[in-house]
Symmetry: C2
Subunit: 352 residues, 2 copies
Amino acid sequence: MTLVACIGGGQLGRMLGLAGLPLGLSFRFLDPSPDACAREVGELVVAPYDDRDALDRLAVGAAVVTYEFENVPVEAAAGVKAIPGPRALEHGQDRLSEKELFRSLGIPTARFGGLEETGLPALVKTRRLGYDGKGQRRVDRDEPLEDGELAEELVAFDRELSIVGVRARDGETRFWPVGENVHREGILRVTRAPARDAPQVEAERICTRLLDALGYVGVIAVELFEAGGRLLANEFAPRVHNTAHWTIDGAETSQFENHLRAILGLPLGSTALRAPSVMVNVIGGIPPVEELLELPRAHLHLYGKAPRPGRKIGHVTLVDPDEETVARAVALASEEGGEARTTPPHSRVPPS
Amino acid sequence: MTLVACIGGGQLGRMLGLAGLPLGLSFRFLDPSPDACAREVGELVVAPYDDRDALDRLAVGAAVVTYEFENVPVEAAAGVKAIPGPRALEHGQDRLSEKELFRSLGIPTARFGGLEETGLPALVKTRRLGYDGKGQRRVDRDEPLEDGELAEELVAFDRELSIVGVRARDGETRFWPVGENVHREGILRVTRAPARDAPQVEAERICTRLLDALGYVGVIAVELFEAGGRLLANEFAPRVHNTAHWTIDGAETSQFENHLRAILGLPLGSTALRAPSVMVNVIGGIPPVEELLELPRAHLHLYGKAPRPGRKIGHVTLVDPDEETVARAVALASEEGGEARTTPPHSRVPPS
């Protein structure tokens, strides 16, 4: 049995497990929480991410170690030779270093640095550990930045896109169709793939440059702003990504399976589109499962996480939906609609 | 968390678990073997199938109890109110009762009974516990049948087909496209779906009659012989079935997900074809994973079972393949090609 070890045992780890078990793989996860939802598809080591002893227990006997979030301590990941390698993590954890990498590769970004570089208004972000809109504020007047803060030009973009790709050990790259993303309150709500009039070629060019520069192995995601017909790289994540969850149902090979294939040195699977797809995140409360499953060609993915306001607890992929179906799914999956429901309706079905 | 309990923890249970975890379900399995391969996707109760105490432990707290093979003791299944209900099990476990049910429903079958009914040559089978060609022999001369034996007309059929359908609690039925099956040495090797010139309407009519007569809830499979343009029902299995494993990759909703939806009283998912598919069983030894994954649009499903001659340890679904690809997959998945390999090649990949 081939064992894959993963730092982090959240929904991304869980979906890696669900994709990997059919490949004959087994899984072990490291997570500080004993409730980490990946525990249902593998062994769980409960410890902080920087616990050297726990990291050793995670890695023992594993064919490969990977991670499911970008804030893994670099030394921890390097100590167990995690893939993707430490360079991606280092750049991904520091917004300044990330943007400087983009710049050095000729990848356009919003202006960044101090307020004198960006002009006003600007977004001021912490350089480290920002996630889902946390740790950022809008600044309209000149003010001194604090230590560890970075200003970014406030771009009046037309839409947010993302390109998710995978690079194999031999350098082969493949990309899924560009997704078009809608955020609300700093949380991803909806991804449509492919994006309308997707700038696929340009997005792949940006992603390829990054992958090759990092000597990357595995799945990567680059978030992009489209502004006046131009693509600006916003940030990248050295891991499987929420904006490609639709690939489980809508692509020939999912991002999860291809990440595993890549890090294990197996041939990559086709990233071709099966059918246009719309992914809707389930945020906060358990949604009305029956009503979601009644939607045509709806594929539900709950993560086994306890409901909590603002928490991503699942997603629904709609295959080739009409706009009415999308609107219905968004309403059903929204926090407002689901907050009061903490038990899935089907748990009340008695055996007959 | 909604718990599904399943009698049997083999690959069918494992694939039910893989389909059900994304619906927010958790699983518990009962199996006499501590190595039962479904253990990777749920809790495992190790005990014989007729252990009353273990059955109680299996069922406690479960929203529903189901099973993954048709030789569950009827009293055991009935005692925990398993779905599908005991009538399907009773008929499915006894070839005579099964054929009499077909006959009573006006569903054509090969002649059966004693040799005087069937003529010679005939197939003589044990009435109970026959599986995968075990417990049957060809008889060319008149001879007395033993107690518990049943003769069947040896049909010179043109091909073997199967129809797999699902019936919801409210009586709604849905069917996947008819599959065309190739057996060798009594073991299913290949299923093509849809079958060429599939007699879909007639097959669905047969299956509907059976489902409605049994008041069935869940997935059922009916194996059919096509002979001279006529369909003869051979046998049915009151469970998810090997000839519909292709639905994981080739249909909008898999047989596994729809079985769970049905028994939990949730709306059924679409059974529409995504793309024509060919399923190739992996028999005996661990196959060369890298070569299988290099095949275009190949989807590998290993069950985490130890290799053993004649044992089904996985399958590969090929989406819309050409004949060369099918032949290649059959060669790679065959016992002869794989027997010597007991370790997946990717377990030899070192972390880098």
